[in-house]
């Protein structure tokens, strides 16, 4: 058996109102991928932040290569050889890749650039050292983060939900790099909510629940069902059973719409679609083919250059956002921290933000009462309704958004990656909520990156490619159908 790189014992971490970690033991061996699994808010990120020196543990000890260490800062961690790619990247957007990596080292950016090329080649992490970071895609930025760690010579690499933002191809490339690292003896701690990935890459899996370790399993001892069970403490049915849709009247009609992206490129190139009451239209497609813009032209956040949007028979093209909200369009955006929520406002206030009442005064007791109802109904984990939203875990933030949008009694829901970053139980909850809404006659436009999500939920599947719907199909997960979708996503006409 290979030797232990890192070990933590009895870690306890308290935040105001939360016991985030409650006596956690965890260890990492040379050349293994040790996955950390757990529901939203289980404490995974907190534990990693402690190992990376971002947070200080209230109790417990950390041993690195058998010696007890007090990790004072991320810098100190890196010096020891512990590196972390955080959920939110820590790069300077206005700097080049090389400048970002040179930061804090003794090397100059030009010398760094040469070394980056070597690392890129060795690990298959392609990136241009002279590109400015703000010009890079999310996948590329992540590669920069990883190169940064390898550059610093990290022996322990922590990846916090790295695949949440990646396309399937990028995930494959990441896994290749991870295998390269482990073959050189580097230990990798991997966090993900996607069980198929966990199955593919892990040598060991540790399951956390509410800040406690439920168990650590060796490869061969775990399968998807068992892990899911350990995570939530009960069997999760991922096959959501549902009745056939009974489409009613036409709710939304998008006709030949053209619109530009933020950068001024054509993002929607004559897109048309229709959704009826009581049906879910899932849109599949490679990220960046106009999904975000489609959601934004319908919600009124983006101007339409030509074309028409009709909602319940009325022309809504280029009307204001508030008109559309009042007309019954709800929006679950991709960017929950920026667009959907006000991070500094409390949970209660965020839940209240888009309510329709035209009251000038509102009383605190009322919005708190309102909030408590939703916190219970949607099982939002928060110390109190008065807690600022920014202190919630990613998954719980998403629940706040969903609770609020559903509370509007919408006629149309636009959901963009509604379960990104959610654990299995919360995911199932969102699925059930969406289907319940559908059965009540709400029209739903689902823009999701994961095919299984589209298969799980949609009544019809459309494929978007370069700003247009290139074809429709049924949500049957048969190999032929998946292949058909794959081809359409890649721009091959079927």
């Amino acid at each position: 058996m290979s030797s232990t790189l890192l070990e933590v014992r009895g870690i306890v971490k308290r935040f105001p109102g939360v016991l985030a970690l409650d006596g956690v033991n965890f260890d990492l061996r040379e050349g293994e991928v040790h996955t950390l699994l757990g529901e939203n808010g289980a404490g995974k990120t907190t534990l990693m932040n402690i190992i990376f020196g971002l947070y200080r543990a209230d109790e417990g000890e950390i041993l690195f290569k058998g010696k007890r260490v007090h990790i004072r800062s991320p810098y100190h961690a890196l010096q020891l050889g512990i590196g972390m790619v955080q959920q939110h990247f820590t790069l300077v957007p206005s700097f080049t890749v090389a400048e970002n990596i040179a930061l804090g080292t003794r090397d100059t950016p030009s010398r760094v650039a040469a070394k980056i090329r070597g690392i890129s080649e060795e690990y298959g992490l392609e990136v241009d050292p002279h590109a400015k970071v703000w010009q890079l895609s999310v996948g590329e930025r992540q590669r920069v983060e990883i190169i940064k760690l390898l550059y610093a010579g990290a022996r322990v690499v922590i990846l916090d939900e790295p695949t949440a933002v990646l396309t399937p191809q990028e995930t494959e490339a990441l896994f290749k790099a991870v295998r390269k690292m482990t073959s050189r003896g580097t230990g990798v701690i991997f966090i993900s909510h996607k069980l198929n990935e966990v199955m593919e890459i892990s040598s060991r899996v540790t399951v956390l629940r509410k800040g406690k370790v439920i168990g650590t399993l060796e490869r061969g001892e775990f399968d998807q069902n068992k892990l899911a069970r350990m995570m939530v403490g009960r069997e999760v049915v991922m096959e959501i059973e549902r009745e056939k849709a009974r489409p009613g009247e036409l709710v939304i009609k998008v006709e030949d719409v053209h619109a530009r992206s933020d950068k001024g490129h054509i993002a929607l190139n004559g897109i048309s679609l229709e959704i009826r009451a009581g049906e879910i239209l899932g849109i599949a497609g490679v990220a960046g083919n106009g999904q975000r813009e489609l959601a934004e032209v319908i919600t009124g956040l983006r101007r339409v250059e030509s074309g028409k949007i009709e909602f319940l028979g009325k022309d809504l093209t280029n009307t204001s956002v508030i008109d559309r909200i009042l007309a019954g369009i709800a929006y679950i955006p991709q960017d929950r921290k920026g667009i959907a929520l006000s991070p500094n406002l409390s949970v209660a206030e965020n839940l209240f933000l888009r309510r329709k009442e035209k009251k000038v005064w509102f009383n605190k007791r009322e919005i708190f009462g309102h909030a408590r109802r939703y916190i219970e109904e949607y099982k939002i984990k928060t110390p109190s309704p008065a807690t600022a939203v920014k202190y919630l875990s990613g998954g719980n933030m998403q629940k706040v958004v969903i609770a609020r949008e559903f509370s509007l009694d919408p006629r149309l829901i636009i959901a963009v990656h509604p379960t990104r970053g959610l654990d299995v139980a919360s995911m199932e909850f969102v699925y059930r909520s969406l289907i319940k809404a559908r059965d009540k006659g709400v029209a739903i436009l689902l823009l999701a990156g994961e095919l299984y999500e589209i298969f799980n939920l949609s009544d019809r599947v459309g494929v978007i490619y370069e700003g247009k719907i290139v074809g429709y199909t049924t949500p049957d997960p048969t190999p032929e159908n998946i292949e058909k979708i794959g081809l359409m996503m890649a721009g091959v006409a079927v």
């Binding site: 890196l78 790069l91 300077v92 206005s94 700097f95 930061l103 804090g104 991070p343 920014k390 202190y391």
Partner: protein, 309 residues
């Protein structure tokens, strides 16, 4: 009108602005917004004058004004970096403190003349027609301004330390994760910025005049804050901007003095503020413009590790 004289005066009017502007550029590049420039300039002017008056040593006066500027900026650094209070409030407090304190302490010195820096021609360069006498027949502090500006431009954009400074102002969390001591960099940048700003004030009482007057900076601190934006946080552009403002100011005085052109003096006095306003509006008009001109993204945002944003 004599062009050489006008240019030469433009440089002299522009120099105090230049010191304050490049000082604030350093501070803001680290992510700290210091609106206390007016107070810092007054403290610098006062310290410089009192030292020159009582010792007759101009360089000692200049140096002490740097020290006092740094000490004063330390107040702002402590408030905004350590205590993380609102930087706008802390900066405004500094302005009030500086003008109040210099006003009270300086009361005894009003109207007394002291020594002042005299022009020193740079041999060779001063012979260049028009440019020579305007740029190279000035007092030593003007030359300090030239050297300082080019040094800072090189420092910010071409050195490793400059890279670190910019990183702290853009993404402190990223810098922190790379082992940069964000607090230390911000303290240092705020102190250096404060010292340079005070030097701008000292220029007023040591080179532009040889007197102390209450509120003698007359709004230059505010103009410098706008100039930082106008210059897009680039010392070289700050130099251009400062001298341009110097030109506007000296033109205004000339026109007033000669009476050749009949433009309302009030209108001319407004000119610098108008330009300031326009550059501010341009700056705030949209996010992408702001990004393009390179405003530090973490400007005015205190940094703390465990605080989520």
């Amino acid at each position: 009108m004599n062009v050489e004289g006008l240019l030469s005066a433009s440089i002299r009017y522009g120099t105090p602005l230049l010191f304050a502007t490049v000082g604030e550029i350093i501070t803001e590049r680290s992510g700290v917004l210091n609106l206390g420039l007016e107070g810092l300039m007054l403290m610098g002017a006062f310290t410089g004058f009192v030292t020159a008056y009582s010792t007759g040593n101009l360089w000692l006066a200049f140096t002490l004004s740097l020290v006092v500027g740094a000490l004063f900026a330390l107040i702002h650094a402590f408030m905004s970096i350590t205590l993380r209070v609102n930087q706008v409030v802390s900066g405004l407090a500094l302005t009030m403190l500086g003008s109040g304190l210099s006003g009270i302490l300086g009361r005894a010195y009003v109207g007394r003349p002291a020594v002042m820096f005299q022009p020193v021609a740079i041999p060779g360069l001063e012979k260049i027609p028009v440019i020579g006498p305007a740029f190279f027949k000035q007092d030593p502090l003007v030359y300090v301004g030239y050297v300082l500006t080019f040094f800072l431009a090189w420092f910010i954009f071409k050195t490793k330390a400059g890279l670190t400074l910019r990183a702290v102002g853009e993404e402190p969390a990223a810098a922190d994760a790379r082992g940069v001591n964000v607090f230390w960099v911000r303290y240092l940048a705020t102190l250096v910025g404060g010292a340079l700003t005070a030097a701008g004030g000292a220029y007023l009482s040591l080179a532009a005049t040889s007197m102390w007057m209450e509120n003698m900076s007359a709004g230059r601190g505010w103009i410098a804050i706008a100039l930082v934006i106008f210059a897009a946080w680039d010392p070289l552009k700050a130099m251009l901007g400062s001298y341009l403002f110097g030109f506007i100011m000296s033109l205004q005085f000339r026109l007033q003095a000669t009476g050749e052109v009949h433009v309302s003096a009030n209108l001319l006095l407004m000119l610098p503020y108008l330009v300031t306003l326009v550059s501010m509006v341009l700056f705030s008009i949209n996010e992408s413009f702001r990004k393009r001109i390179g405003a530090p993204s973490a400007l005015g945002v205190p940094y703390s590790r465990e605080e989520k944003t």
